[in-house]
């Protein structure tokens, strides 16, 4: 299979980066309301490398968001081991930050204070250096003028940019993004995708991105993990070997559509054909 060779070839190149998050045979079961056990995630094995952008794609209920919540410490594994950076996952620490589908800004704080919220939670006094960093981050996404505005004065896209700044304020190693651009209009989404690529190029964060959009996954990712539903499990993990820096012109390359087609096939192919 040509794709398998392609994967092998690129895998040898990328394995140089150390594994930052190791998900080893992790399952997550829920008790549903009528008492039956629902398996949200079944024996997931996934190694996320330092500095990569890895996308999780798949139909609803495939456990993408559960995987994200696991790494964020919002969900404990029922079975298996999840370790970050060699050590065991502690609940809530400054190495992981999350961006949700909705901006989830706190409406009682202005933009600057929203960006600084994680600093405040850590019981640290907000210093001039913190403020300078927040303003620097806002400038990175073109919002330096908006620091004193209230969230409701901003558009959805601007709010999501603020949320991204907030996720970066503590300089986390890992950035988790749960369909961060899903609620935005198409033009704003393209804008923010490029913002994200730029931020990644500058900061080399490890980014785990949950998305419904196949083209978004191909455009942004170093690797794409395709998951299938009921029970949620890993279906395929492919290396996206397209040169950086990528732009929206990248989408017109034949390689791009080949990857997109392969992901689509993986999602819609009947399970028996694996």
């Amino acid at each position: 299979m040509a794709t398998a060779e392609m994967m092998l070839a690129s895998a040898s190149k990328a394995t140089e980066a150390p594994v930052l998050i190791d998900i080893d045979g992790v399952s997550v079961h829920f008790e549903s309301q009528d008492g039956t056990r629902v398996t949200a995630l079944s024996r997931l094995d996934l190694q996320i490398r330092a500095g990569e952008i890895l996308s999780l794609v798949g139909p609803s209920g495939c456990g993408k968001s559960t995987t994200l919540r696991l790494i964020a410490g919002l969900q404990a594994p029922s079975e298996g081991v999840l370790s970050i950076h060699g050590g065991a996952k502690r609940r809530g620490f400054s190495e992981v930050a999350i961006v949700f589908q909705k901006p989830t800004l706190l409406p009682w704080l202005n933009v600057l204070k929203n960006v600084l919220y994680p600093v405040r939670v850590l019981n640290r006094r907000i210093t001039a250096a913190d403020k300078a960093r927040a303003i620097e981050l806002l400038a990175l996404v073109g919002l330096s003028e908006a620091a004193t505005k209230m969230p409701k004065e901003l558009s959805g896209g601007m709010q999501q940019r603020v949320a991204i700044c907030r996720s970066l304020i503590l300089d986390p190693k890992i950035l988790l993004m749960d369909e961060p651009f899903g609620a935005l209009d198409a033009l704003t989404r393209e804008d923010l995708q490029l913002d994200l690529l730029r931020i990644h190029a500058e900061t080399k964060k490890t980014i785990l991105l949950v998305t419904h959009s196949i083209s978004e996954a191909v455009l942004l990712s170093d690797r794409v993990a395709v998951m299938s539903a009921r029970p949620g499990r890993m279906r395929d993990l492919m290396e996206i070997d397209i040169d950086t820096p990528r732009t929206h012109q990248t989408a017109s390359e034949p390689k791009f559509s080949a990857y997109a087609q392969r992901i689509r096939d993986q999602i819609f192919e009947p399970r028996a054909g694996r």
């Binding site: 964020a72 410490g73 809530g92 706190l106 939670v121």
Partner: protein, 258 residues
């Protein structure tokens, strides 16, 4: 007046005009049909009743206001923390919620004389009566707001490593303020009711006391003057709560809340 000036100020002009007409019709009907004052005092009778009290009207109003405000503040100091506790901690909630519901189920007018017997005829008894009626809506509203906090906001706090206390203080309580103010509006209104009930059963001053003493002398005009003043106080306090909300908690003022 031009039509545009009217449409700009109609929210003010219409109720004032309606009120003036209502008072006018009331006065005319009272005089025209010579309705006895003990059946329906006219606006002039009520004004006379009030002016016969003179400055005493205002010193008594001060007493009642003191009871209302102190009782209301105490209700907040008890109701808001209790609302937080029952919504954050399940054990506390299961243990004390039934007791609180029972306390609230007691008819305030029935228990008021008993409280006076137990606590005496000073301010303490009056404040307890006000609190019994006012803390419950405040507590329930607070608990509802705390529980209504969107999960993503709570996740945000957890991911950052916030303790439960930090989460409550920085996320859930600010979010709940919209609901808390709903409770405060009800709370301040029923505080007026509580204060009057307390003065009915135990006081030698205050507007509630004046209502009782003047009706026992068939001075309906004077009684109605006190009742009117109580209504004015109630509206004023209700609006003050709204003002505090708009000034200090602007994010809680959405289109739904007015």
């Amino acid at each position: 007046m031009s039509a545009s000036a009217f449409s700009r100020h109609r929210r003010f002009i219409l109720p004032v005009a309606a009120f003036v007409i209502f008072i006018g019709v009331w006065q005319i009907v009272s005089s025209l049909f010579a309705i006895p004052v003990y059946i329906l005092p006219s606006p002039v009778d009520i004004y006379d009743g009030g002016s016969r009290l003179g400055l005493a009207l205002f010193s008594n109003m001060g007493e009642t206001l003191k009871t209302i405000l102190l009782g209301f503040v105490l209700s907040c100091l008890v109701g808001i923390p209790l609302g937080i506790l029952v919504s954050v901690n399940r054990t506390i909630s299961e243990a004390i919620y039934p007791i609180i519901v029972f306390l609230n189920a007691i008819p305030i007018v029935a228990i008021a004389p008993v409280i006076v017997v137990i606590f005496g005829t000073d301010m303490t008894a009056r404040l307890i009566i006000v609190m019994l009626i006012a803390f419950f809506p405040i507590m329930v509203a607070t608990a509802t707001g705390i529980l209504a906090t969107p999960e993503e906001m709570r996740d945000l706090a957890s991911v950052t490593g916030a303790s439960t206390l930090t989460e409550v203080l920085t996320i859930r309580l600010p979010y709940a303020m919209t609901y808390v103010f709903g409770g405060l509006r009800i709370g301040v209104t029923v505080s007026v009711v509580g204060a009057v009930v307390a003065e009915f059963v135990n006081a030698n001053k205050g507007l509630g006391f004046l209502v009782v003493s003047s009706t026992s002398q068939f001075d309906i005009g004077m009684a109605m003057a006190c009742v009117t003043l109580l209504a004015v106080i109630s509206v004023f306090l209700y609006q003050s709560v709204g003002l505090v909300q708009r000034l200090f908690f602007p994010w809680t003022v959405g289109d739904a809340v007015r």
